[in-house]
């Protein structure tokens, strides 16, 4: 059964590729004809006018790319890994590492083209197949930035955006950690990346995308990354069901110092994520960087203070969770709000996310193992809406053309709604599909034994 499914997938992918390649060939031929017909002088002038990437911008974007990789492979892995029980440590590390590798390859094969290409009549939703396998791209190819006439090498842009696709998909595993089949997760990840990440990234970030044209602001991926992944994690947690013994047996984190190291790596890496999203090494990047410090600090403080007030003790896990919530909230806002706006955003998100992972979670009764929904979706929604408020020049933000607060907040809410519905529906269908074909959940015996030995045949700690 498994083999048949794999074969069908392979066949479908191959068919898609060959169709894409032939379309690409056609385009190349057309271009060649036009070039031959056009006068030689005009072509020469065009070449001379083509902007050249700045070395500073290029360096900054490559550095930012490395920082986001630092967020994923050690950062997110350890943040999540420390939160599970010792018997599932390696399963979480394997899942994040495996997804990063998988999405990296898929991104250059077809992801980039579908996310950032021009989809013609479907351009509101998705790109095209012109750049499958990065066809035609060389070291001289460039990608536009937010400033007219300023470009960066397209390979840099491809690599930077690759890391976003990878971290978004990897974030989801926290929702159903400690109980999913590794193989099923890999298949789900490839499908989810294709049908949820790519369309939403295109709608929000690509010229002509539905939300982009509506004027929805999402500086570094509050909707594309955090709401998108947070909703998928919630749907996954519900479809797969609670862990055996949830609410009865203790499931305390097995190593909070690792979670602290992971949270810190996330924070450091997030400077690449947020300030890198400026695409240029300018004052805009500096603003995003500063906001990424202060919003995070404010959220860590308010989570910490809320815990102290409500429960009597401020916990390390609370401070670290608050920091991550602050990072999530400032993501869409990073280069758009002032530092005081960022602090306000962080201050609000701390207590709200604390409520989401305790009160709301208990009331609704789902088992989102590592609180991906409570922190990333809820924090992402606050960030997305808050960006509409604090982008206001009156509140220290950078402002946008024709800004009115109510109008912008409505636009932001539209972005949130589209993402929630799209991700929710697509995730539900894909989880059900994978469950039907290969089963999502490990056997009860395997779950009790722990996924490290039952799924991966190894043990994190030799005691």
């Amino acid at each position: 059964m498994k083999k048949i499914f794999m074969l069908i997938t392979l066949l479908a992918v191959l068919c898609g590729f060959s169709a894409g390649v032939s379309a690409e060939d056609l385009v190349v031929v057309e271009e060649a004809v036009t070039a031959a017909v056009a006068p030689a002088e005009a072509a020469a002038a065009e070449v001379a006018a083509a902007p050249v990437p700045d070395k500073g911008d290029t360096t900054w974007m490559m550095l930012s790319t490395l920082l986001v990789i630092l967020m994923i492979v050690p950062g997110l892995s350890l943040f999540y890994g420390g939160l599970v029980r010792a018997k599932n440590m390696l399963s979480v590390l394997s899942q994040v590492f495996g997804i990063f590798a998988l999405i990296s390859v898929l991104w250059v094969i077809y992801g980039y083209s579908l996310a950032f290409g021009d989809g013609g009549s479907m351009n509101w939703l998705i790109g095209d197949a012109a750049k499958l396998f990065l066809a035609g791209m060389t070291g001289d190819s460039t990608a536009a930035t937010f400033t007219d006439g300023v470009v960066i090498p397209e390979f840099t842009f491809v690599a930077f955006q690759l890391t976003f696709a990878a971290i978004t998909t990897a974030l989801i595993i926290g929702g159903f950690a400690e109980r999913i089949k590794f193989g099923a997760l890999m298949v789900f990840s490839a499908l989810w990346f294709t049908f949820s990440y790519l369309p939403i990234a295109h709608m929000v970030w690509a010229t002509g995308g539905y939300l982009f044209e509506k004027g929805a602001l999402d500086f570094a991926g509050g909707t594309v990354v955090h709401i998108n992944a947070g909703i998928a994690a919630l749907v996954g947690a519900i479809v797969i069901g609670k862990r055996i013994g949830y609410g009865k047996e203790p499931m305390a984190p097995h190593n909070l110092p690792m979670t602290m190291i992971g949270a810190s790596l996330l924070w450091v890496g997030w400077f690449g994520f947020n300030a890198g999203s400026n695409l240029e090494a300018t004052g805009g990047a500096a603003l995003a960087l500063l906001n990424t410090i202060v919003a995070t600090a404010a959220a860590a403080l308010t989570w910490m203070a809320s815990e102290k007030l409500l429960r009597g003790k401020a916990s390390m896990l609370g401070i670290a969770s608050g920091a991550v919530a602050g990072l999530v909230a400032v993501t869409p806002a990073a280069g758009l709000v002032g530092p005081m706006g960022a602090i306000a955003l962080g201050a609000v998100v701390g207590p709200v996310c604390l409520w989401a992972v305790s009160g709301l979670k208990k009331a609704l009764g789902y088992d989102d193992s590592l609180d991906v929904f409570g922190i990333h979706a809820v924090g992402g929604i606050i960030g997305a809406i808050g960006t509409g408020i604090f982008v206001s020049p009156a509140l220290g933000g950078v402002g946008v053309d024709g800004y009115t607060m109510s109008g912008q907040v409505m636009t932001q809410a539209t972005g949130v709604l589209v993402t929630v519905v799209w991700s929710g529906v697509v995730s539900f269908v894909l989880f059900k599909l994978v469950d039907l074909v290969m089963g999502l959940r490990v056997s009860e015996e395997a779950e009790r034994e722990g996924l490290d030995t039952s799924s991966h045949g190894e043990r994190a700690y030799q005691m």
Binding site: P250, A252, R311, L317, G318, G359, D371
Partner: protein, 112 residues
């Protein structure tokens, strides 16, 4: 011959060992254990999840001694392990039917 089993606070182990060797006890066996008594456990809170930890870490000290030394041994443990707070532990005394030293085959009080 008596077996003295004492459950004590982990950080009192060194003092108890010293007190026992001072009065001439030849050997003790130590085990890290968990248990509950009158001392309350504590609550741990991880985000929304609350776990009550009932079992607290203690150290179990076992010493086989001649009946003639029993009172001295009890007094030594009692004094050295005491903090005066709930959770100091308990001492149990039970008879020993037979003791054999494996190396020499000696038995009874000679083997202690």
């Amino acid at each position: 011959m008596k077996m003295v089993t004492a459950i004590i606070k982990p950080f009192k182990l060194d003092e108890v060992r010293e007190a026992l060797s001072t009065i001439g006890v030849q050997g003790i066996t130590v085990t890290e254990v968990k248990g509950f008594g009158r001392q309350k456990g504590h609550t741990e809170l991880y985000r929304g999840a609350e776990y009550v930890v009932d079992f607290l870490p203690k150290v179990k000290v076992e010493a086989a001694v001649p009946a003639s030394m029993l009172d001295q041994v009890l007094e030594a443990i009692e004094k050295s392990a005491q903090t005066g707070k709930i959770g100091d532990g308990k001492i149990f005394v039970s008879p020993i039917e037979q003791v054999i030293r494996i190396r020499t085959g000696e038995s009874g009080i000679d083997a202690l």
